[in-house]
């Protein structure tokens, strides 16, 4: 058996100590060891963005990051976007604009959009489209998603 590695990192603002396999992805760590299932597996090879998380301020596909790589670093997932019971303006905007249908890509879009608004509070439509091009949605045609991000940016 492969020996487990120990990990110490910050997850949604809280310190986590856990173990992982050497070959385990961050997505697997989140979903199977830590039971945070908000990040979704859509492709497991970095093409759909449904597993997007923020790693030290950078948006990453968690399926492409090895769990061992996050030792000592900081991870924000969809579960850490809201402030307790209060939704983040992006989450509120997604609801108001009806920017989700099936909802399975929604966590990835919200996490990715937050990473954008954290660095650029008032992006143009073109910039929003460019930033979100790594996240696939098959239900909405993106119209209402782009509107929601724009709306959230105008309220920030």
């Amino acid at each position: 058996m492969v020996a487990l590695k120990s990990l110490h990192f910050t997850l949604n603002g809280e310190t986590v100590d856990t173990l992982c396999d050497a070959g385990e992805s961050l997505l697997e760590l989140l979903r199977y060891r830590l039971n945070l299932t908000g990040a979704k597996e859509g492709c497991n090879n970095g093409n759909c963005g449904a597993c997007s998380v923020i790693l030290d301020g950078q948006i990453v596909d968690s399926c492409l990051v090895l769990a061992v790589e996050i030792d000592g670093r900081s991870v924000t997932t969809i579960e850490g976007i809201a402030n307790g019971p209060n939704l983040h303006p992006l989450q509120e905007a997604f609801l108001q604009e009806a920017a989700l249908q099936c909802g399975v890509c929604t966590p990835g879009f919200i996490v990715a959009a937050k990473a954008l608004l954290d660095r650029e509070p008032h992006p143009s439509e073109e910039r929003i489209r460019h930033w979100l091009a790594g996240n696939l949605c098959r239900c909405t045609g993106y119209d209402k998603i782009v509107r929601a991000v724009k709306r959230a940016s105008e309220q920030a």
Binding site: T37, E41, C43, Q101, S124, R138, K144
Partner: protein
């Protein structure tokens, strides 16, 4: 660029209080916070992980399978193959938008004797963890005898083509062929006399149009979790468009009684028709039965592409004749659909939808369903109609050009209307096709100039229309009135795009209470009456109708109870605007007052309904698209898109717009990029989201959805289904726009850069 708010639909001026508003969906908060539980998110104690072994060959006999080494691997708890099916029947199961032969279905889920496509499931294992399960797959020994493959719909019909099943004969207009064939079925629809019709024509055009298989592209892969208890109670958790359909398939495939099976539909990450049937659910059940533990199975994205149910590729020849003044006198077509490894129902719907928007006196349509060494196809949003419309709507554009007519005028001149007889013999009731054409003509988009292209580029505008039947089928629901004036609604339609809202809003409207007083829950198969699938554009129509009937049942009960509280005869009371009033106007009780009272004394009030409504109103759409193309590279940019649709009554306009925008986006992908690309051995060479390129945010403009509301006379609130028809017009609309830009007619999908460069002669074919 500023983003304008969506236009308010006409219904905003109606007398409805809840219908036509845009409340936040009841499951919204869970879905924006990551808390919603989708099929892959469930974890059971002691659960095993499973994996499926799939064929590396597109066509082969299975000479031998030896699973003993895999079964002996430490950590492996069960191995199953096609030999574990409890018996193979040939019963036909109706999935609403698709039918399936249950014997074929069993063989598709775990092969018996033969594999018919690359990725065909051969065996499955359950183990303590995923790594062990994967290792075990490598220990299963399968001896294959490879066979020649047939991959193209036209090739499959030729004499001497490799046969997928040497016991399959063509059912041709009710007669069985003498020789075995890959053509499963030949059907014909006839109206009038086409010979006479073509004789009356001044202009006749004829062309062949081809499409390849495409995938629905839902972001969530298939999944299933099963627990077969020692009491023989089987519970299955999965992401499906129809929990009852899954249950019924499990009954047949496992020879297990309905009363012993419960299917729990978890949240579903997209379906578009591709999650009407079963893939992993029966296999997980077999593994659970063998191991005595819960088993969870997922598909990888590659497995989804290779082994779920894409939409059929087609070869469609069509001929249309018209008089000089643009009156269509006759149409004739041959439609061949490749149904994949097993026969499906491709051609029938294609024939019935192809020319439905038009009032044509003489029509002759021949449809053929063939089998090829590719996965068994499944429904994809208005299944079969988009391929047929690509052919018909492209040829109509050419006809308009030849006649010197505006393409919308040509359509208006021949448009179906109330009373038009269709090729299937039915006559349209009130429909809104003409209204979509008029709204398209009146749209800001149609009135605006195309604008100057960037240097070296070319622009074009195209229009096309589409039709879809829309479905009815069975729905059930119940609701209890709570003491605080709220209502808990239990329904059985999986919520794939906001139907908790669209169903719950119809209950709120019926009861005259605010929508936030209605709390909808989607229940498992033991906890609500039968519901057909979320598909066929039926859910807001039929489950909404059930919610209306639940509301009427509650109203009747509240009037009876109010009579007691108000000391009046029930006949003297009426339910109006959320109140029970005396007809004389001297006394009343509000819904909230009654809710408190009935929960305090006597029996609780629970409304129930089980419906199977006929009268689904058909959907029509007309789309306009502007494109800009670079003639040197073949790259196409979609500049502007307007989708006009008769939506009946828009219950929740935002989700109606969302259906239209999403369907148009899928159509743009189908038009320009998406295709199943097979090599000559039958290996799918683009089975990832990188290589099967679906539109991203960068590939699309904002999509204007124009809602035309012609209420369906067959529904209490005028609902028509809206979800499917948006996928019907886009491919022809884009092709017609590209013709205006480049001067060539592209008659094969996708209209990728390579194909455009071939068609314009920039590169050789």
């Amino acid at each position: 660029m500023a983003i304008k708010s969506p236009e308010k639909p006409a219904a905003a001026t109606s007398s409805y209080k809840v219908i036509g508003t845009r409340p936040v969906r009841p499951d919204g908060a869970d879905k924006v916070t990551g808390r919603a539980v989708y099929g892959a998110d469930i974890r059971l104690p002691n659960m095993l992980r499973g994996r499926v072994l799939r064929s590396p060959y597109a066509h082969a006999n299975i000479k031998r399978i030896d699973t003993s080494k895999a079964a002996a691997l430490p950590g492996v708890k069960a191995v199953v193959t096609g030999a574990d099916w409890p018996g193979i029947s040939n019963k036909i199961e109706d999935l609403g938008e698709d039918t399936v032969n249950l014997g074929d279905l069993a063989k598709n889920l775990l092969a018996v004797g033969k594999v018919l496509y690359k990725g065909h499931a051969v065996a499955a294992v359950a183990a303590l963890d995923d790594a062990t399960a994967q290792k075990a797959l490598g220990l299963i020994e399968v001896e294959y005898e490879q066979l020649p493959v047939v991959l193209d719909v036209r090739e499959s019909m030729k004499p001497g083509a490799p046969l997928l099943d040497d016991k399959r004969f063509t059912d041709s207009l009710g007669t069985k062929s003498s020789e075995p064939s890959n053509v499963a079925r030949h059907i014909r629809f006839e109206l009038g006399d086409v010979a006479k019709g073509f004789a009356q024509a001044d202009v006749t055009l004829e062309h062949e149009y081809r499409t390849t298989m495409v995938h629905q592209g839902y972001i969530e892969p298939h999944n299933a979790t099963a627990l077969w208890g020692s009491d023989d109670n089987l519970t299955v958790w999965c992401s499906t468009q129809g929990a009852f359909a899954v249950r019924d398939n499990l009954v047949e495939l496992l020879k297990h009684p309905t009363g012993k099976i419960k299917v729990v539909p978890l949240e579903i990450g997209g379906g578009f028709g591709g999650k009407l049937g079963v893939y992993l659910e029966p296999v997980a059940a077999l593994l659970s039965k063998k191991s005595g533990r819960p088993v969870q199975l997922f598909m990888s994205r590659t497995e989804v592409f290779e082994a779920s149910g894409p939409a059929p590729g087609t070869s469609i020849s069509i001929k249309i004749g018209a008089t000089k003044d643009g009156r269509i006198t006759a149409a004739q077509a041959d439609l061949a659909y490749e149904d994949g490894a097993y026969p499906g129902a491709g051609a029938g719907a294609g024939c019935m939808c192809m020319l439905a928007p038009y009032d044509i006196p003489n029509i002759l349509l021949d449809g053929r369903d063939t089998v090829v060494n590719k996965p068994k196809t499944a429904a994809y949003r208005a299944p079969s109609a988009p391929q047929a419309a690509f052919a018909a709507e492209s040829l109509l554009d050419e006809l308009a050009e030849k006649l010197g007519m505006d393409p919308l005028e040509l359509r208006l001149k021949n448009a179906s209307h109330e009373g038009t007889r269709q090729v299937n013999g039915q006559t349209f009731r009130r429909i809104g096709y003409i209204e979509t054409l008029e709204a398209a003509k009146a749209s800001a988009h149609f009135a605006s100039p195309l604008g100057q292209p960037a240097p070296g580029k070319k622009r074009g505008r195209g229009v096309a229309s589409g039709f879809w039947f829309n479905g009815g089928f069975k729905s059930s629901a119940y609701a209890q009135v709570n003491a605080d004036g709220s209502v808990s609604l239990v329904e059985g339609s999986v919520d794939i795009g906001g139907t908790r809202a669209s169903i719950g809003m119809q209950l709120a409207e019926t009861l005259g209470i605010p929508f936030d007083k209605v709390k909808p829950t989607v229940a498992d198969t033991d906890s609500v009456g039968y519901n057909a699938m979320t598909g066929g554009s039926r859910t807001t129509f039929a489950s909404g109708w059930a919610a209306y009937e639940v509301g009427m049942d509650i109203r009747r009960q509240l009037v009876e109870r109010a009579a007691e509280f108000m000391e009046r005869a029930a006949d003297d009371l009426e339910y109006v605007d959320g109140e029970v009033r005396s007809k004389t106007g001297d006394s009343k009780m509000t819904f909230a007052e009654l809710a408190a009272k009935v929960n305090g004394r006597g029996a609780p009030v629970v409304g129930r309904a089980a419906v199977s409504p006929m009268g689904a109103g058909p959907a029509f759409a007309t789309h306009i698209v502007d494109v800009e193309v670079d003639p040197e590279t073949g790259k196409v940019d979609v500049l502007r898109y307007t989708a006009v649709q008769d939506v009946g009554t828009a219950i929740h306009p935002s989700y109606v717009e969302g259906q239209i925008q999403g369907g148009a986006a899928q159509g743009i992908g189908w038009a320009l990029n998406e295709e199943y690309f097979y090599d000559d051995k039958g290996v799918l060479r683009n089975s990832s989201f990188l290589d099967y390129r679906m539109p991203t945010t960068l590939d699309l403009p904002l999509i204007d959805a124009v809602l035309v509301e012609v209420p369906n006379p067959g529904h209490p609130y005028g609902v028509r289904g809206v979800g499917e028809v948006p996928l019907v017009p886009p491919m022809a609309a884009v092709s017609n726009a590209l013709h205006q830009a480049l001067g060539v007619r592209v008659r094969e999908l996708p209209m990728s850069p390579r194909r455009l460069l071939e068609e314009t002669g920039v590169i050789g074919k």
